[in-house]
């Protein structure tokens, strides 16, 4: 379902070229749980952004569900991100003026879902991440772990095929981090959601079915 063939990503800043990804060949099947590890600046986020259709390869072929997305328009890419992909970031990226329900609702606003269904689905998603008692709280009233759970609820609210998590435990203490990881594990096992998770923590990485190690823009090891 995710297939990359000879994918390159080169950033040009003035005259300097930075090669963030070199000749990536990768295949991820539906329902896999994958960890990506590697030192800072090795290209993990770049790879994830391409998988998530936030960015396009400079060269090579990227097929998502057997479709080549390289010639998709802004509107079509936005639609794929909305329906098939859920992002979880290190910085949570919640809107401070919204309570949990409204934060989780944002993807539904762009999905053409009927107004009265939006709240129901947002609440369901919050229940799934164990926040049924914090639905009307704002991010500033919650702990980091709780905020990240809102972000996960937002990522799953539109029932995506893939969840992309870029260092989701990077800003959390060990205990909250483990809780977050167990949510991902549950989503993968019970809902068959594909999980792609970037992490520095070897303990977290090894819980995945497969670990991909990246160094200087190349995949150096798969286990």
């Amino acid at each position: 379902m995710i297939e990359m063939e000879k994918v390159w990503k080169v950033y040009r800043m003035d005259s300097v070229e930075v090669t963030a990804l070199k000749d990536i060949n990768l295949r991820i099947d539906s329902g896999e749980y994958i960890s990506i590890i590697g030192p800072s600046g090795s290209g993990k986020s770049t790879l994830m952004n391409i998988i998530g259709c936030l960015d396009k390869p400079s060269d090579g072929k990227y097929m998502l569900n057997d479709k080549n997305i390289s010639d998709y328009s802004d509107k079509e890419l936005a639609h794929i991100r909305n329906k098939q992909i859920g992002f979880v970031f290190q910085m949570f990226n919640l809107l401070p003026r919204y309570n949990a329900i409204k934060n989780v609702s944002i993807p539904l606003l762009y999905a053409g879902i009927e107004d009265r269904e939006i709240e129901t689905r947002a609440k369901e998603a919050l229940v799934k991440v164990g926040l049924s008692d914090r639905m009307y709280h704002r991010p500033s009233q919650l702990s980091g772990g709780q905020q990240q759970r809102i972000a996960i609820a937002r990522a799953i609210v539109n029932n995506p095929d893939i969840i992309l998590a870029d260092e989701p435990t990077g800003n959390l203490d060990t205990k909250s981090g483990r809780e977050i990881i167990s949510i991902f594990k549950n989503l993968n096992e019970q809902m068959k959601v594909t999980i792609i998770l970037i992490t520095h923590d070897p303990f977290i990485a090894q819980q995945a079915n497969r670990v991909i190690k990246i160094l200087d823009g190349s995949i150096v090891q798969e286990t």
Binding site: R81, I106, L109, Y110, N158
Partner: protein
């Protein structure tokens, strides 16, 4: 995203920073309120002037000494352009010869102090004839007006304006009493009905005497002007032509006078006042424009601050158009909300000023309200386009990383 959701989203964003939104709207509020207030004031002044002139009787023809060398209906202030004067013999000539004229009266004006025993009052003496009441459609409320005989002979009789009566006699019956005008004694034969203020003067401060007596008081035989009434609306232009012909003959074929209808004079006033309305409205519209620039400025700041929000929205499925519309609606909401508040303040302020300041008239015109409202909405959208476009173009990855 459906339309209602866009609007709700805009309100949520704006109300999360109420102080800033209010200050941003202030520019538009002031702009719209001042457009409405100034236009309403100018319109009110226009209607007030037209009303007061129109109150002077219908089919009125105005004859002034002097000739103004312009087309159209401008009429000269007495004396400025006159080389030759109008006299009572001109009035008699019009009365005898002009068949389209139903009545005519002379006017001699002068300021004086009128005295009765110890009481006195500042007044303007107007020398007229017995036809005055019929042409101007004003009646004495006590006693009568001068007769033809009194007018022709120049008897020392006078009719007091309402305020003069009150000032000299309080509530006493003044009929038959003798008042002093300049060096002359006049018998009071009537008091005019209360008429109120007109443009530049108060009807109730006048004292009416026969024109011939006024000639004596002021020692002059030149008239301020002559007023005539056409026999009907349909022949008013013929009446003007006739009067012009008669007076030319009287003045050795010199057209050293001006004959205009009240109607053409009013249309000049109308033109001038409309110009004033447009100029005032235009000045106020500039402040609305400044308000629009304020909106653009704040939207640019807001987009900078909300870069991560924009990145997040794009990551979860917003396309460029969604972001563009979201921010356009925010700026349009700012400007139209400001527009509505400004509208209420403009209308309310107008009524308050009208009730507090006497002689201040406003006329709330629907077109000024609609125009300023739609202009404010337009300003919001126009000045919102650039910030919204910038927001829509932001790269989601960089935006999400923005500190």
């Amino acid at each position: 995203m459906n339309k209602l959701t866009y609007i709700v989203t805009a309100f949520e964003a704006l109300s999360s920073n109420k102080m800033r939104s209010a200050l941003t709207m202030l520019g538009v509020i002031i702009g719209v309120a001042s457009v409405i207030l100034l236009v309403s004031m100018a319109e009110g002044a226009k209607q007030y002037i037209l009303e007061k002139f129109a109150g002077l009787g219908t089919n009125l023809i105005i004859i002034q000494p002097g000739k103004v060398q312009t087309k159209g209906g401008n009429f000269p202030v007495a004396g400025i352009a006159s080389t030759h004067k109008l006299t009572l013999s001109d009035v008699r000539a019009i009365e005898r010869q002009a068949t389209y004229v139903d009545g005519v009266f002379p006017m001699i004006l002068g300021a004086l102090i009128v005295k009765y025993h110890d009481a006195h009052a500042d007044t303007t003496v107007v020398g007229v004839n017995e036809q005055f009441t019929r042409i101007i459609s004003m009646m004495p409320s006590i006693g009568g007006f001068m007769t033809r005989e009194e007018s022709d002979a120049g008897r020392n009789v006078c009719v007091l304006g309402y305020n003069i009566w009150k000032a000299l006699f309080a509530d006493q019956n003044p009929l038959g009493r003798i008042v002093k005008l300049g060096n002359f004694y006049f018998r009071v034969i009537g008091v005019m009905e209360k008429k109120g203020q007109a443009v530049g003067f108060d009807w109730d401060d006048l004292v009416y005497v026969p024109a011939k007596s006024a000639e004596k008081i002021f020692n002059t035989d030149s008239l301020f002007g002559i007023r005539a009434k056409a026999i009907s609306k349909n022949v008013i232009n013929e009446a003007v032509a006739q009067i012009t012909q008669i007076l030319k003959r009287q003045h050795n074929n010199n057209e050293d006078f001006t004959v205009v209808t009240q109607e053409s004079m009013l249309s000049t006033v109308d033109t001038i006042m409309n110009m004033m309305t447009v100029v005032l409205g235009g000045i106020a519209a500039i402040s609305l424009l400044v308000g629009g620039i304020g909106i653009m400025n704040i939207m640019l700041v807001s987009i900078k601050e909300r870069t991560r929000e924009i990145g997040l929205r794009k990551a979860v499925g917003a396309n460029k158009r969604d972001i563009l519309i979201q921010f356009l609606i925010e700026s349009a909401t700012l400007s139209t909300t400001g527009g509505i508040i400004g509208m209420l303040i403009g209308i309310g302020g107008g009524f308050i000023m009208q009730s507090m300041i006497s002689g201040f008239h406003i006329s709330i015109t629907p077109w000024a309200i609609l125009l300023s409202f739609f202009f404010s909405a337009f300003v919001g959208i126009f000045f919102g386009v650039y910030p919204a476009y910038k927001a829509a173009q932001l790269d989601p990855i960089e935006s999400l990383r923005y500190e």
